[in-house]
C-alpha cells in the first residue's frame, strides 16, 4: 500500500490534540520538518518524549504545543540552556509544562519495553537521587522499588511507554514505509516501534527492491507505518549521515532568537508560519543565506562497501 503523502497531511490526519507523541532524533536525523508542521497546524496539549531533547523540543514548548514532557535532558548543545523550556518552567511562558524526568538509560529502556510488549523493565539508574523524589504526572506509576523475587535485593522497575504516534526521519524508506537508517541511532528504533503508529519522513524514497538489498538496515517495518513523506533536508539544522552536516550557524541563530519571547516568535514566523512546507523552507534558506551556505552543508562522499545476502 502506497503511503506516500505530504507532511501537512501526515500530521493533520495522524496527530491529534492531546496525543502522546514520540519524536526521534539525536541531532542526528531530527524530524524537524514534522516539528515545524506540528507548530504550523497549532496542535495542542501534546505529551512529547525522547531521550536528550534539543532545539526541536524547545521550539515545540515555546510554540505552546506541549502540555507534558517525558524527559531526560534538554539543551541547545554548544549554545547552552534551552530558552523556551526555561521560560516555561521559570516564568510560565507561554504556560508551565508538566515534566516527568528520567535519564538516558531509563527512558530508552522504557521505550524498548513498550516496543517489546513488556509491562515494565528493571533499570539500575535513578536510585539514591532526587529523581526518585520528584514525581510528575505519572505519579506513583513513575517507578516502583521492589525486592527482587529471585534474590530479595532491591530492584527498580520503570513502566513501558507506548506513544500514540512516533515520528522519525530516516535516510531512506519505500512507499509502504519500510524505513532504513545508518549511523547514530539514539532511541529511534525503540521509540518508533513502541508507538501505535509511525510517521516516517525520509531523505529519499527508494524501491522495495532496494530495501531488500540490505534488509538489516530496516528499523521499522511497513505494517507499523501510516505515512511516508519524502522530505530532503528535513533534519536541518540537525544532520543526516551521508546527506548533510549539522548547521551550527543556524543553531546560533535559534539560540539568539529564542533568548527573548519576541525573538522566538519572529523566528517562528520566518521559519515556520511563513513557509508552507519544507520545499519553501529550503527556498527561504537559500534566499536568506545563499546557495553556497546550503551547498556547504551537503555531505562529502565516502561510500563504504556493498555486501551480498546471497546464498
Amino acid at each position: 500500500m502506497n503511503k506516500v503523502t505530504t507532511m501537512q497531511k501526515a500530521v493533520a490526519e495522524n496527530i491529534h490534540d492531546g496525543n502522546f507523541v514520540y519524536i526521534g532524533g539525536y541531532i542526528c536525523r531530527t524530524p524537524f520538518s514534522a516539528v515545524h508542521e506540528l507548530i504550523r497546524q497549532g496542535k495542542k496539549d501534546l505529551t512529547i518524549t525522547r531521550s536528550n531533547a534539543a532545539d526541536d523540543f524547545d521550539m515545540l514548548i515555546g510554540a505552546g504545543v506541549v502540555k507534558r514532557f517525558i524527559s531526560t535532558f534538554i539543551s541547545l548543545g554548544v549554545y547552552g540552556l534551552a530558552r523556551c523550556y526555561r521560560r516555561s518552567l521559570e516564568k510560565g511562558i507561554p504556560h508551565i509544562i508538566e515534566v516527568e524526568e528520567y535519564t538516558n538509560l531509563s527512558l530508552p529502556m522504557m521505550l524498548m519495553a513498550g516496543a517489546m510488549g513488556m509491562p515494565f523493565i528493571p533499570v539500575k539508574d535513578l536510585l539514591g537521587t532526587d529523581l526518585m523524589k520528584i514525581k510528575g504526572f505519572l505519579g506513583e506509576s513513575k517507578y516502583k522499588l521492589i525486592d527482587s523475587p529471585f534474590d530479595g535485593k532491591p530492584v527498580l522497575i520503570v513502566p513501558a511507554l507506548n506513544p500514540d504516534v512516533g515520528i522519525i526521519h530516516v535516510q531512506q524508506a519505500d512507499e509502504n514505509g519500510n524505513a532504513q537508517i545508518w549511523g547514530i541511532g539514539g532511541d529511534c528504533k525503540y521509540g518508533a516501534n513502541a508507538s501505535k503508529k509511525v510517521i516516517v519522513s525520509c531523505e529519499r524514497i527508494v524501491s522495495r527492491e532496494m530495501i531488500g538489498k540490505d534488509p538489516s538496515r530496516t528499523i521499522v517495518p511497513d505494517f507499523k507505518v501510516v505515512a511516508v513523506v519524502e522530505e530532503p533536508f528535513a533534519s536541518h539544522p540537525g544532520y543526516t549521515p551521508g546527506f548533510y552536516d549539522q548547521d551550527f550557524g543556524f543553531g546560533y541563530l535559534y539560540k539568539e532568537a529564542s533568548s527573548t519571547e519576541e525573538g522566538f516568535h519572529a523566528f517562528l514566523k520566518e521559519w515556520v508560519h511563513d513557509v508552507p512546507d519544507r520545499a519553501a523552507y529550503i527556498q527561504h534558506f537559500i534566499d536568506r543565506f545563499g546557495y553556497a551556505a546550503y551547498k556547504k552543508l551537503q555531505a562529502k562522499f565516502d561510500y563504504g562497501y556493498p555486501v551480498s545476502y546471497e546464498y
Binding site: Y26, E90, L127
Partner: protein, 266 residues
C-alpha cells in the same frame, strides 16, 4: 624524569589531570569538551588501548574535527560500532563494561553527588538546568566517575539544591544498601584549583593536590563544606610535554580549549 612546560592554561592542566586517571585498556564514556580531551590525551600517552564510547550509540569514533556534542555528525564515519542509547547505556554501561565515566555539574557536594537539574527549588526554580541526560546512570554504573567542576562555594556547596546524579549519596554504605553495583562511584573531582579524591571510609572528598599557584587555604575558602586535606597533599603535577603535545598538536590544534578560560576555568 618528565618535563613540564610552563606555558599551559588551567583547562589544559585539568584535562591532563583527567587523562592521568585513565588506565590502559579502560572503557571510557565521554561527553564533549574536557572528557574527550582527557580521554584522548590518555590514548596518546600512557593508555593507547583505552577506548571511548558516546552515549548516543557510538563506540571508538574517529572524528576528524572536535565533536561538539555526543551526537555530532563527525562521530559517524569511521567508528567501530554505531547503535543507539540502548546499546551504549544499556548493553555496555548497565551491562557493567564501563570503567570510567566523565561527569560535570553546576553543583557537586562532598560525596560527589551532582546537580544538573535546577538552582533553587524544583517546583519553582530560579534557574532550570538541562536535567540528567546520561549523567545519572554514568554516576550510578561507571566503575570510576571523574567529575569536572569549577571551584567556588556556590558550585561546591554543603548541600545541593537537587541530587541529579549519585555520588556516594549520604555516605558510607548508601550505594550498597540500594544494591547499586559494587566497586562503582566517583573517584576524583578535578577543579580549577585542586584535585579532590574520596576517603574510602567516610566517602568524603578531600584535597589530594593543589594546582600550581593555589593554596590549601584558598581551596578551603572556595569549598562549601569543611574540606579535609590529605596528609601527603602536594602540588598537582603540571602538564607533561607529551600530554601538551598530544593536546595541541593532535587533538585541539585550534586550541578550542581556551573557551573554558572564558567560562571561568582559570
Amino acid at each position: 624524569m618528565n618535563e613540564h612546560p610552563n606555558d599551559y592554561i588551567k583547562p589544559e592542566l585539568m584535562a591532563c589531570c583527567g587523562a592521568r586517571e585513565i588506565m590502559d585498556g579502560d572503557v571510557v564514556v565521554v561527553g564533549t569538551g574536557f572528557p574527550t580531551m582527557s580521554a584522548n590525551i590518555a590514548k596518546h600517552t600512557h593508555a593507547p588501548r583505552a577506548v571511548l564510547l558516546q552515549e548516543s550509540g557510538v563506540y571508538d569514533a574517529r572524528p576528524r574535527r572536535p565533536a561538539l556534542s555526543v551526537g555530532d555528525a563527525c562521530l559517524n564515519p569511521g567508528a567501530a560500532m554505531i547503535g543507539g542509547l540502548v546499546d551504549v547505556m544499556g548493553m555496555f554501561l548497565q551491562g557493567g563494561w564501563v570503567d570510567v565515566g566523565f561527569l560535570s555539574g553546576s553543583q557537586v557536594d562532598r560525596f560527589g553527588n551532582i546537580n544538573t537539574t535546577c538552582i533553587g527549588s524544583y517546583d519553582q526554580p530560579k534557574s532550570r538546568l538541562p536535567g540528567s541526560g546520561g549523567a545519572n546512570p554514568i554516576g550510578a554504573l561507571a566503575k570510576r566517575g571523574l567529575i569536572i567542576v569549577q571551584h567556588d562555594p556556590r558550585r561546591l556547596p554543603a548541600r545541593l539544591d537537587f541530587i541529579t546524579t549519585p555520588g556516594y549519596i549520604d555516605g558510607p554504605g548508601a550505594r550498597e544498601k540500594l544494591n547499586m553495583p559494587p566497586e562503582t562511584g566517583p573517584s576524583i573531582i578535578v577543579t580549577n584549583k585542586a584535585v579532590l579524591r574520596f576517603d574510602p571510609d567516610t566517602k568524603e572528598a578531600f584535597v589530594a593536590s593543589y594546582h600550581p599557584g593555589h593554596t590549601i587555604d584558598e581551596i578551603r575558602r572556595s569549598t562549601g563544606w569543611n574540606i579535609q586535606v590529605a596528609d601527603d597533599v602536594h602540588e598537582t603535577e603540571p602538564p607533561r610535554v607529551e600530554e601538551l603535545s598530544a593536546l595541541r598538536n593532535i587533538l585541539d590544534p585550534h586550541r578550542m580549549i581556551k573557551i573554558y578560560e572564558g567560562k571561568g576555568y582559570v
